[in-house]
Subunit: 313 residues, 2 copies
């Protein structure tokens, strides 16, 4: 059994995007096993257990991931994760991976996959980033691996955070700006932990694609529900999106209904659904699937990431 | 983060029994979080993800365990497991344990706890073992850590297996014998993977306590359903027992109903239920709980089992 402390060091982001795309497609074809995430509440947070099996990739296993919002005050990450892989024909555990950075990267890749299939242009793309934390970075980098980026605008609740982000990504034409100006773009990516809508419908031009990444638990939302009513909304998994995705609050309050969802991102990849015109507003509501974690773990191992051998059998 | 390849080496079986008893009691008091096991089907078997949190013991984590019946033909264990522990206040993973032998031992301890509370005598006990594999060994050893054993009879489908078992445990007064003679005892322990009843009601004397260990998945059963109808039946968790315990087949066929269950083993430990006379037949239907896995992992770490340090943060 191998332990990978830094499985991300050898990763090629384009290869990760491909693997996440393949995982979404396999899920949409009904060719994966993936029970819903199981939540256990802890003091100050929770942890989630995410088992899955992707026969086409020969990958089976579990991600174990916590969310403790108070951790940064203790010098710890809010979200930390381990991924355990089992050999499907025998059930033997053969790899344990530090999944903390992999979780960020596979979420970034989900945004890139959605942008490839739903953004109205693939080159000369104007991106708006609402939120300037670690997830904004991985979304930008994963998307830049596949799309041609013309301009980046970034907003954060704390202006200094947005400005620091802009300095870190000065290889792009980038500026920290207002929320309203940030929302005026081809591809809007929201990555905040907000519990109130930040992005107003009036700011969203026709034809915008929005990757709504931040909402990953009950009570979280970043978008004015009017955007969801106006847009074609795609989700990763309706079972999860209903209780923890961007649509969860509007559903709970009766403003939105799961019947309105236009399909899954896997359906879009398979050509069963997708953008119908350059004027349509589209939304991808990402909650994060166990099959994404298995897929990126498989890429990390295939890339020859360094590992230590652990005695098991 | 520590990895424990052989966490069982320093274990004291009496201390394990105490920890399992405490875990059952905490579960019965409603002081644990334990979602039902999640099953994922693989080619040739399955794996189960078992998360839990026991606030009183400060233990949170997950067991990941496979069941691949064809593994012995490949020189592998049928059941292999890992246990991951997280620090409850921060969610940080701090220990990964090889859970294969711990799984055997915590199941043995469950039998010992049930025998302490339900067997009509605690000394001079006559034990019958139906099945002579590894689980028969751990049941006998865990029970002998708490009860005085006067005589052991053992039966296996293959006589040579039972005879080899008797030789390995020659420190007891022990004999390999017929199924019917084995069933004539104070404490009957069934540990086979049978899918047909092996133990007939007519063979069970009044006052017998039965630890029904073998049935742990849909379709498995070891006892004549008439025994269940005659006995007071205790389970570890009704939610699991209904679909995977000894009672699952009689419930599916309409011969038994979950309403007849007399309580949980935790209820018995807390004095809310239990043996009412020396003539009563009692059954403990064990399916295995995630809280048992956390409890034994906690004991193994506290016992100072050897570990290797893994880079994580």
């Amino acid at each position: 059994m191998q332990y990978y402390a830094r499985p991300e060091v050898s990763l090629d982001l384009s290869r990760v995007n491909e693997a996440i795309e393949a995982a979404f497609a396999a899920f949409a074809r009904g060719e994966t096993e993936m029970p819903p995430k199981v939540y256990v509440t802890l003091p100050g947070g929770d942890f989630r257990t995410m088992p899955a099996y992707i026969p086409a990739l020969g990958l089976a296993g579990v991600k174990i991931v916590n969310v403790h919002p108070g951790n940064p005050g203790r010098g710890l990450e809010t979200v930390m994760a381990l991924i355990v892989l089992l050999d499907p024909p025998t059930g033997t555990p053969y790899a344990i991976l530090n999944g903390t950075t992999l979780t960020d990267l596979r979420t970034g890749a989900a945004g890139a996959v959605a942008a490839r299939h739903l953004c109205r242009r693939q080159d000369g793309v104007e991106i708006g980033l609402v939120g300037a934390g670690r997830q904004a970075e991985t979304q930008l980098e994963a998307t830049a691996a596949w799309l041609g980026i013309e301009r980046v605008r970034v907003w954060s609740r704390r202006e200094a955070t947005a400005e620091a982000f802009a300095r870190r990504f000065s290889r792009f034409e980038i500026a920290a700006t207002s929320l309203e100006l940030t929302a005026d773009c081809d591809l809007l990516v929201t990555t905040t932990p907000s519990r109130e809508p930040l992005v107003q419908d009036a700011w969203i031009a026709d034809g915008t694609h929005i990757n709504a990444i931040g909402a990953d638990a009950a009570g979280k939302q970043e978008l004015d529900p009017a955007i969801l009513l106006r847009a074609s909304v795609y989700v990763d998994d309706p079972r999860q999106a209903v209780h923890s995705g961007e649509i969860n609050v509007p559903i709970a309050s009766g403003l939105y209904s799961v019947d309105r969802v236009a399909g899954t991102i896997g359906d879009v990849i398979l050509g069963r659904a997708g953008r119908r015109s350059d004027d349509e507003v589209t939304v991808f509501d990402s909650t994060g699937l166990a099959v994404q974690d298995l897929a990126i773990a498989g890429v990390a191992i295939a890339a020859g990431s360094p590992a230590v051998e652990l005695e098991f059998l």
